[in-house]
Symmetry: C2
Subunit: 262 residues, 2 copies
């Protein structure tokens, strides 16, 4: 049974891409089959795995707007035996507008869901992670309509708390109108800075609000995490002993174990 | 002559809001008349100045979608003599879709420009800063159509470089189709971390590409900058001696001085 997880938060720079990349890398290094779908036109997740995503490259734009099959548009990530990436290209930025003029309103939110159903009918994947842009437009809506689980990364900083209500409302809307199975399954606290009370108070507030959904593992701020993508690597392979890598490995293990408990 | 500056970058978490807030605060503390326009539905800039922006509060949504006057929707920022904020409310998140169904396509990009022209006809402002969400939708397009100058904050991290090309193309599009006076006047490097080569290499690359447009002043990563909004303050008043506050003051001075040189 494939577990498909959308990583969403319209607040910018909270660690969506970094979490998608490093959780996927951790699972793949543990021998699981993993697909990363990059829905952010900036293509940061594609870059992190060293995958070309210039304007006309194959990717998620072709799947959503031209009905191409995921299997034909995805690339294998170098250095991994069982990790594939459906890259994002710049033309994805125009998806919201293009979808309005080319696809009937009722079908628009379900393009990714349909493509994923086709793909998983004959490809064995253990995990699929979907990286979203920092907005609540049609790309994020497609990601919410396609999954049972949402993982929300929350940066341990003040502004990051503000947007959570808005995100929860959007998820609620998607659950009511598009996808009754949708749940916020996981909250991952990121960029924890131990030198300030600010981080600790954010952690306390988030645990108070979300309870057990919040992973025990908190990802610390670590320079090696930020350096890794400039070498086309995940921190898991760039510096496996760093606090960031150790934390992402522990978070990945927690996520896989939670599944077993159901 | 009022100087109106849009602060834009679709990459999330690069310091758009932090720069809008602290540059505006610096200018206001120096006695200038300053207006901050918050176009981000998350309303982080509104929060930073301690301004209520619950769902039905007055703000930029009313100006763009109901034709209200800026002067009637703005609030004075507490603790300042000459700083006003046009707050963002959550309903702004629906602006893209609502504008498509209520305003003719040709007029949509110019709603803010028209409202600002009315406002400045009888309100003396030295600076107007417009904070944008991390996307290139109709809110950011309105901000680009309304100004002569764009300030692009670039975080001194790897992913931040990826999105710049896309942003420059959008600005070029806005200049050709909507606003021939539009220029990228200022590049501000943010969250510089002196403990890693990554920051230094980003600075080098950005100075190499943008030359003189890049401010001499680079904003360092400073925990006091991140803490200030949790007290409803700018770092300028929260901890004026911190490296972050000193840098934003220097950046504000550089911006005002550049104007004089024309
Ligand atoms: N634990 C960490 N320690 C240090 N730096 C981090 C950490 N996690 C992420 N970063 C850095 O912070 C920045 C923001 O992270 P990232 O790009 O993953 O966030 P995002 O939510 O995907 O952003 P966007 O909203 O633009 O998609 C990046 O430069 C990244 O390298
Ligand atoms: N110089 C700095 N030092 C330390 N932290 C900073 C600095 N500048 C910004 N921050 C923090 O980094 C986070 C991102 O900054 P900010 O919210 O201003 O970015 P943004 O570009 O406006 O984000 P968004 O894309 O969501 O609108 C915030 O938590 C902020 O407090
Ligand atoms: Mg991202
Ligand atoms: Mg912001």
């Amino acid at each position: 049974q494939t577990r498909i997880i959308t990583i969403a938060n319209q607040k910018g720079g909270v660690g969506k891409t970094t979490s998608a990349v490093n959780l996927a890398a951790s699972m793949a290094l543990a021998g699981l089959n993993v697909l990363v779908i990059d829905l952010d036109p900036q293509g940061n997740a594609s870059t992190a795995f060293g995958i070309d995503h210039y304007e006309d490259a194959s990717g998620s734009f072709d799947v959503l707007l031209d009905g191409e099959a995921i299997a034909d548009m995805m690339s294998a990530a170098e250095g991994f035996d069982s990790l594939w990436v459906l890259p994002a290209t710049l033309d994805l930025a125009g998806a919201d507008i293009e979808l309005i003029s080319t696809v009937a309103e009722a079908e628009r939110p379900f393009l990714l869901k349909a493509a994923l159903a086709d793909f998983l009918a004959d490809h064995e994947m253990d995990y699929v992670f979907i990286d979203c842009p920092p907005s609540l437009g049609m790309l994020t809506i497609n990601a919410l309509a396609a999954v049972k689980e949402v993982l929300i990364p929350i940066q341990c900083e003040f502004y990051a708390l503000e947007g959570v209500q808005q995100l929860l409302r959007t998820i609620e809307f998607a659950k009511e109108r598009l996808n009754p199975d949708l749940e916020v399954s996981t909250i991952l606290l990121t960029m924890y800075n131990s030198t300030t009370n600010l981080s600790a108070s954010v952690v306390e507030e988030v645990r108070g609000y979300f309870g057990k959904k919040v992973l025990e593992t908190v990802i610390p701020r670590s320079i090696y995490v930020a350096e890794a993508p400039s070498f086309g690597q995940s921190v898991m392979t760039y510096d496996p002993g760093s606090t960031g890598a150790v934390a992402y490995l522990a978070a990945a293990r927690e996520i896989t174990e939670r599944k077993q408990k159901g």
